[in-house]
């Protein structure tokens, strides 16, 4: 069936929606596990999610997914309806999470277009066992439940098939008063009675239309508007779903009295949906009510009058809310990427126009006025595109609950996860790059950081360890901090490991604490002898730092032995467009991110200091800063080599400042960051370039990576 009408977008939507639902499900089950209580809302939500997944999967013909979803739905249906007091929350969470995992694996298969063939039989049995246990434990409640059904003459079989709210309907059927007919809603003048005609109609439904009994009920429901007496068979269409089978085979028979003509009645019945065959005959001049022999004791259920819940007030209140929800649409990320590229190109094009060399020396007041307006609008457009791409970190953060839970269970450690600042937003592309490193850091923290309970108590700490996951804005960066209150890093161990692996580049006396900690990010470093299931598989912290570096971020560690470790990831808010200062050295152009620039100035010869190794430094307001000459760094030919002729740009990253020497400043503008080609990236190990960009006059400018430059200075 899927092939008939579906296209890629159906499958895409299925995958997208189902994975979202699974995430939501995971979240609610973890939340309820934490509080050791499943709230009614959670149960409802889980039930609804499973119901939706079941329906969608059945449509896509993923039967194994649908059937597992169905059994979880059943389980939560029972919990919802019976509200059992004794639910083993932890076991329930295990089951549901196992189910979620199964569904996730199957969903991956769907994504990869592999056959969706996972077998959930064992899991379904576990669920069935659990459900049975629940039913037994709550046998008193169950007894009430079944006994009520028994009065309705329902077999246990039926219960399974139609579990929903059966009481609501059946309760309203007066059992002790068997009646053959029902008075119509409209009370008619008695005089009209004499004109009544009797009809007998037999309705057959098309094959495969399903729920024939309810289709028959639809007919009766509509009939009561126009007739005043009727009898039908099979008579138990409301209570007994097995009657569907009877109707399928023998048809549905109604005998009725009305003042409508034959044609009118025929037209009425012909409107029946999925009608295959109708036999309608008028029963001549019948004085008495006709009796249907085979069903003398037939009980004609009254059409149940259902109380509708008064929700008007609520509805009115929520109107504004619902229209607000509708104003959100989902957009393909690829389109946003393309939009971003286009805006980037436009920023370049704007520079090409307004800084066009042809304009040099012309007096163009009106042009510049218009250009300023243009520049203002492109700037706003750019901000807007950035804003659109921003996504809060909360989803990524909440995924970590699951990791903490699984690991603390397996390792038998008690760990709490605290989340701060989850509403902080970063670019969509960046989010994808931080999920894995984050997971790795959390695993590391639980595995290596947090001590076993006994050890913690001995160290006079609380028995449960705490991991704090924090995000906050810091200028144009976002800081994500993973902090644990575990045993902290052991400097001696790190040093000796680094020595063994030949990773030390400095003498041990000179190395600072910070530098020692940063050693753990070097490739091939791992202090843990025992490899566990979760961490220490050889892919170490170096992978974390590499991942973060690909999005232009950095990682640093801070630790106090005995008190814990904090790992900070500094990530740019966005990648694509930055404010930059263009500078000129000889014929080359360079761009320095404006955010790193503290000041620029023309030096006096007297401020320049040279040490015995010929390293140049400059004294500014009593502080000494190292000087980096770009023309020597890049071997650029330039006429300006005297420091007093050029210009100094003082740049800083979080700890170090230095002064870059260039020929002159060209001006500040928004630049679109383009990645360097691979052959340049691989050319030099200590590359200080962060990328390149296109300037207004068509020339290429190299973007300096300030962190790499300050690192040069430190060496």
């Amino acid at each position: 069936m899927a092939g008939n009408y579906s296209n890629e977008s159906m499958l895409d939507l299925y995958i997208f929606e189902t994975s979202n639902l699974l995430e939501q499900l995971e979240h609610s089950i973890l939340a309820s596990e934490k509080s050791n209580h499943i709230s009614k809302d959670d149960v409802n939500e889980i039930f609804r999610i499973m119901h939706t997944i079941k329906g969608s999967s059945a449509m896509m013909l993923f039967d194994n997914i649908a059937s597992l979803a169905h059994s979880i739905e059943d389980l939560f249906y029972f919990i919802r309806e019976n509200d059992p007091r004794e639910v083993d929350c932890s076991a329930l969470s295990d089951i549901v999470l196992e189910g979620v995992d199964f569904l996730k694996v199957e969903l991956e298969k769907v994504k990869a277009k592999d056959p969706v063939d996972g077998d959930a039989q064992r899991l379904k049995e576990t669920i069935a066992d659990f459900l049975n246990k629940l039913k037994l434990q709550n046998s008193s409640a169950e007894k009430v439940f079944t006994s009520r059904k028994e009065t309705k003459k329902n077999s246990v079989e039926d219960l399974k098939d139609m579990p929903e709210d059966i009481e609501e309907i059946t309760e309203k059927i007066p059992e002790e008063k068997p009646r053959y007919y029902i008075a119509p809603n409209i009370t008619e003048p008695p005089a009209a009675l004499s004109k009544k005609n009797w009809y007998k109609a037999v309705i057959f439904y098309q094959d495969g239309c399903e729920m024939e009994n309810i289709r028959a009920y639809t007919v009766i429901h509509n009939l009561k508007e126009i007739v005043d007496k009727y009898i039908f068979t099979p008579e138990d269409i409301i209570e007994n779903d097995l009657s569907a089978q009877v109707i399928k085979e023998q048809g549905f028979t109604v005998v009725l009295r009305t003042d409508k003509s034959y044609e009118e009645m025929h037209e009425f019945f012909m409107q029946t949906i999925f009608l295959r065959e109708l036999k309608l005959e008028q029963i001549e001049d019948q004085e008495d009510e006709p009796v249907m022999n085979q069903h003398e004791n037939a009980l004609t259920p009254q059409i149940p009058v259902l109380q509708t819940v008064e929700r008007e007030e609520k509805a009115e209140k929520e109107v504004s809310l619902s229209s607000a929800q509708q104003s959100i649409i989902s957009v393909n990320v690829a389109k946003l990427d393309r939009l971003m590229d286009l805006v980037g190109e436009m920023v370049i094009a704007e520079a090409m126009v307004t800084q066009n060399p042809d304009l040099k020396g012309l007096q163009l007041d009106n042009f510049y006025k218009a250009a300023r307006q243009f520049g203002k609008i492109t700037g706003e457009l750019q901000d807007m595109v950035m804003a659109i791409r921003m996504v809060p970190l909360s989803t990524t953060f909440h995924k970590m609950h699951r990791i903490v839970r699984d690991m603390s269970k397996k390792l038998n450690k008690e760990v709490r996860l605290e989340i701060i600042g989850e509403e902080t937003e970063v670019d969509k592309n960046i989010i994808e790059h931080i999920s894995d490193p984050l997971m790795h850091l959390i695993r590391n923290a639980i595995d290596h950081g947090i001590e076993a309970a006994g050890e913690r108590v001995a160290a006079e700490k609380s028995k449960a360890g705490t991991i704090t996951l924090e995000a906050k804005n810091a200028g144009s960066d976002v800081l994500i901090i993973v902090r644990d209150d575990g045993k902290g890093l052991n400097k001696e161990k790190i040093l000796s490991r680094a020595r063994q692996n030949g990773l030390l580049t400095k003498s041990e006396q000179e190395i600072s604490d910070r530098e020692i900690f940063n050693l753990i990010f070097l490739p091939g470093f791992s202090t843990k002898e025992n490899i566990t299931e979760f961490s220490g598989r050889g892919v170490g912290m170096d992978v974390v730092s590499k991942n973060i570096q690909t999005v232009g971020g950095s990682v640093s560690v801070d630790s106090t032995e005995g008190a814990g470790t904090a790992i900070t990831m500094k990530i740019p808010l966005t990648l694509a467009i930055i404010g930059g200062m263009n500078i000129k050295v000889g014929n080359s152009r360079y761009t320095i991110p404006t955010i790193s620039i503290r000041e620029s100035f023309r030096p006096k010869e007297s401020d320049i200091i040279r040490d015995p190794d010929e390293n140049e430094m400059i004294m500014v307001r009593g502080e000494c800063y190292p000087v980096i000459r770009l023309h020597t760094l890049y071997k650029v030919k330039t006429e300006i080599t005297e420091l007093s002729q050029g210009i100094f740009i003082m740049v800083e990253d979080e700890e170090t400042s230095c002064c870059i020497f260039a020929d002159e400043l060209l001006g500040e503008q928004q630049v679109v960051v383009k990645a360097l080609p691979y052959y340049i990236q691989n050319f030099k190990k200590d590359n200080v370039l962060g990328g390149c960009t296109l300037l207004g006059d068509g020339s290429i400018s190299l973007i300096l990576d300030i962190q790499s430059i300050t690192r040069l200075v430190k060496k």
Binding site: H51, M59, I214, T218, L306, V309
Partner: protein, 121 residues
Amino acid sequence: MIKVLIVDDAAFMRLAIKNMLQNNGFEVVGEAANGLEGLESYKQLQPDVVTMDITMPEMSGLEALPEIMKFDPKAKVVMVSAMGQESMVRQAVALGAKSFIIKPFKEDVVVKTLNQVNALK
């Protein structure tokens, strides 16, 4: 063209129904993700036929149905239900739903049901 409003909390289901209907010359005038939105959309769009999911957050199909019927006693609402929800479908019929579709549904069933419901007087 028959104007249809689709009410379902699952975007996938909405797309499935929409595809089927658009392949068969129906006009899908609106979509809503829960009963409340469905009710609002009905008032605004006045569609010929509504497909209404039962299990939805905020306001279920069973709660939205009587509200729609109150607004427009002639409203033609078709319930979309799963197997195992028989009693809910019965309630829906009692509340005025004209017919129902069982998930997973086939294109011809959906088209036929909606055509016939639309033809009702």
